[in-house]
Amino acid sequence: MKEYITKIGSGDLAVDDTLLTKGVETTAGSKILSGFVPLFSAEAVERAVKAGYTVSGKTNVGEFGLDLVGEFSNYNDGDEVLRGAAAELIAKGEVKGALEVDLNGAPRRAATLSGTDFIKPTYGTVSRYGIIPCACSGEQVGAAAANAAETKKLLAAVAGHDGKDGTSLPAEAYDYSCGKEPAGMKAGIITQLFELASEETKAVIKGYAEKLKALGVSVEEVSVEEIAAAQSAWQILMAAETCNNVSRYDGVKFGYRTPNYKNIDELYIGSRTEGMNLLTKTTVLYGSDVLSKGRYFTCYDKALKVRRVVAERFGELFKTYDLLLAPACGKTEYKKYDITRAFETVYGESVFTAVPNLIGIPAMVTKGVQLMAGHFEEKTLFKIAESAEGTDK
């Protein structure tokens, strides 16, 4: 069994394996990248180090970060219950924080399962330079820690403009400490997601709503019919972009190369067949299909339109609500399952996490609940999370 963390040294920060670390093997959890040692580190990692964090090691992710919480990485071998590697390290107190790439909600699910905090910030606020790319239009580096204050500190250290990322927003830094007091705020629980969750999860959400009420926040249910369309749209965009991005891995220039080949075609086919798992392959086929000539306008282009519609809808919602509540996953525990069902399983669960990736809004998991707010409203999420934590004491 491979350790779920590749130790670099003693330190307080875990970095997930989709983020490049100079001189340290980085594989995005995929065999196809085994032996790949980057020449430079991801910008977020550089910034965290500059802010005083020390990288403790690389945490395993599911291949390319596509799966639920990292279950098809070696970490979970022989382990019945699925957990995310970085979240578990935080829960056990082995590291203070972690940088993780959120492209389909895996770190949010992992935080829910381990009872830790994770925030996926507004798209464009943290540099994507050095992410092993999959879904470029929605993936972001997020911060994980044991509580809201530590999460906030780590995110503040890594956010800000980076000239090496063409989609990086211009602000040099973000002040996450200026969130308004919760009293008088309005929160909405997204009905469609709440209804999909298990009874235990519903109880967690209800409990959190009570805490918010105690803080003077009014809470009500709100129906968002666009949820299902948002899920499909993100699935399409993510698969298409992933297909495009992973097609460069061919066993020639770097990473894994099959030992069994007699000609160049066998080298390509063998390396890819042996180097990627079934979930990646299914995603690639799906992504290739939605981009194909006959399907582009009915699938990919339509997904782009849905993205705009959903963004408008949430823009409207955030005029009424300061934040929205939803589970980040439907259950409080996942059991190991068959990889042949991975695509449907991951797709099914992505309904809870798709919107923030699709439209770039921030989403934070704290105390088993997912909070969403409008663009650049991380400060509101942190203020709410910190205040709710305070009610525990």
Binding site: L20, A28, L33, P38, L39, F40, A42, R128, Y129, G130, I131, I132, P133, C136, S137, G163, K164, D165, G166, T167, A240, E241, C243, N244, N245, S247, R248, D250, V252, K253, F254, S288, L291, S292, K293, Y296, Y300, L304
Partner: protein
């Protein structure tokens, strides 16, 4: 039945930028060693992100303006997916949905008159690498120096009716782009895909179209068009074969086109907007700035020089290269005489370069130094021969003209009594020439003049020599 050829061109032009289109590597594809101009971004390592080179956008806009295109103020980059070993990311970043320029028009002259060629669009894209086959070891090697070098692709409408029009169009693009420093347009930096079909004259429908890919020499393009036309005619008139829509490759040695395996034409490129590159918005301010930076077109320059009295032949040489026009204009501003400028650039500078095995295109001289040399000779401070010596020194070692003149004693000899002595001596030593001159052969004067100049080691003031020589000869007649 009479037939006509219908040709459309897709022309790739390598842009003249300091760096590649999305990374900081040097922009020019002609490098020394393979893979000495690559970085993790342009060789496809994961984690790097593209940052658009603004200069590429500006050069594409300039090209669009020169070809009378509409400039689209909102333009985006898209990914074109295909797998080939010279394409490190397995996709090429190009423009599919919102190209930067559309609907242009260019007029070309041939001996049959003027042809109007429509431009469908111009788009920006990155080049791919090169595969080099090593016969000795029977391996194929990849050189990524050319990957991500910026290109524009100019897509014409099917408006060409002869190979002559195609050549005239390509020559015109080359002249324009070289003149405006948009592209060096040297061998390999301008490549064409030629779409060709044949139809009965007057028909509005297109015949079966074949595409000949990736040609860079004008003579190959001409031969390929002629070969392909004949092949189509044979197929239509004599049923030698059944034409199919396909991509063909020109073999320059065999002088024939060959069908490429249909792999590539059948490909689905799965275009989609590149999420890593923000849409580019060209506002009025930026567009005006680009327009202001644009040089006059070669035609405008030619008209300007013609009005100054420069001959057509001289104009043709001057407008072949932007730096010659810039030099001409600067010398004019510094008050040099037009005929002096023309003869110093086209005769003297060209002559010095020729001796060094260079061509006029490579001329690089500070305008103020050449202006000084022209002024020194025009005012007879130095003779033309001495001026030429100074020019050589300036071109070789970038010396200061005045200092060089002084150090080498090149100032024209203006001492009247010294010159008078020389003139008398030359007349005495050359009775034959003197008699010829007195007998009416005016050419003999030149020989005597040359003799005086030689005695004065080329530095005599020509006006004084001339006057004294005329004076002394008049005494003898």
């Amino acid at each position: 039945m009479k037939y006509e050829i219908v040709i459309g061109l897709e022309t790739h032009v390598e842009l003249n930028t300091r760096s590649k289109i999305f990374c900081a590597c040097g922009g020019h594809s002609s490098h020394g060693e393979p893979n000495d101009c690559v970085c993790p971004a342009c060789c496809g390592m994961p984690g790097m992100l593209p940052v658009t080179n603004k200069r590429v956008v500006e050069l594409a806009v300039m090209a669009g303006l020169m070809l009378n295109c509409e400039i689209n103020r909102y333009t985006t980059f898209d990914k074109k997916s295909y797998y080939y070993p010279d394409l490190p990311c397995a996709y090429q970043v190009t423009q599919w949905f919102h190209p930067i320029c559309t609907n242009g028009l260019v007029e070309v002259q041939t001996k049959n008159g003027t042809a109007k060629i429509g431009i469908k669009q111009i788009h920006m894209e990155e080049d791919a690498g090169k595969l080099v086959h090593d016969d000795w070891s029977d391996t194929t090697l990849v050189d990524f120096n050319r990957t991500s070098v910026p290109l524009i692709e100019i897509v014409s409408r099917p408006d060409f009716r002869s190979a002559e029009e195609v050549l005239a169009y390509l020559e015109k693009l080359k002249a324009m782009f070289r003149f405006a420093n948009i592209s060096e347009c040297e061998e390999g930096a301008m490549r064409c895909d030629v779409n060709i079909s044949i139809r009965p004259e007057g028909s509005t429908e297109l015949g079966v179209r074949t595409e000949i890919k990736n040609m860079s020499s004008l003579s190959s393009i001409e031969r390929a068009i002629k070969y392909e036309t004949a092949r189509h005619m044979d197929a239509i008139e004599r049923q030698t074969e059944v034409l199919v829509q396909e991509t063909r490759r020109w073999d320059d040695i065999k002088g024939k086109t060959f069908s490429m395996r249909n792999k590539e034409t059948a490909a689905d490129y799965r275009y989609f907007p590149d999420p890593n590159i923000m849409p580019i918005v060209i506002d009025d301010e930026w567009l005006e700035k680009i327009k202001a930076d644009m040089p006059a077109s070669p035609e405008e320059k030619a008209a300007e020089y013609r009005a100054l009295g420069v001959s057509d032949k001289e104009i043709e040489l001057l407008i072949s290269k932007r730096n010659l026009c810039d030099l001409f204009d600067e010398l004019l501003m510094k008050g040099c005489n037009v005929q002096d400028i023309v003869s110093w650039i086209l005769t003297e500078c060209a002559g010095v370069l020729r001796k060094k095995g260079q061509v006029l295109d490579e001329l690089s001289i500070p305008a103020e130094k050449l202006a000084r040399i022209i002024a020194m000779t025009a005012s007879n401070e130095v003779t033309r021969g001495a001026g030429r010596k100074i020019l050589v020194a300036v071109l070789d070692d970038d010396v200061d003209p005045d200092k060089f003149c002084e150090e080498n004693n090149l100032a024209a000899q203006g001492d009247e009594s010294l010159i008078n002595d020389v003139v008398k001596k030359v007349i005495e030593e050359n009775p034959g020439a003197v008699n010829d001159y007195l007998g009416g052969k005016t050419k003999a004067f030149q020989a005597l003049f040359g003799g005086c100049m030689k005695q004065l080691r080329g530095n005599g003031d020509p006006a004084i020599i001339r006057a004294q020589l005329e004076n002394e000869l008049a005494k003898l007649s």
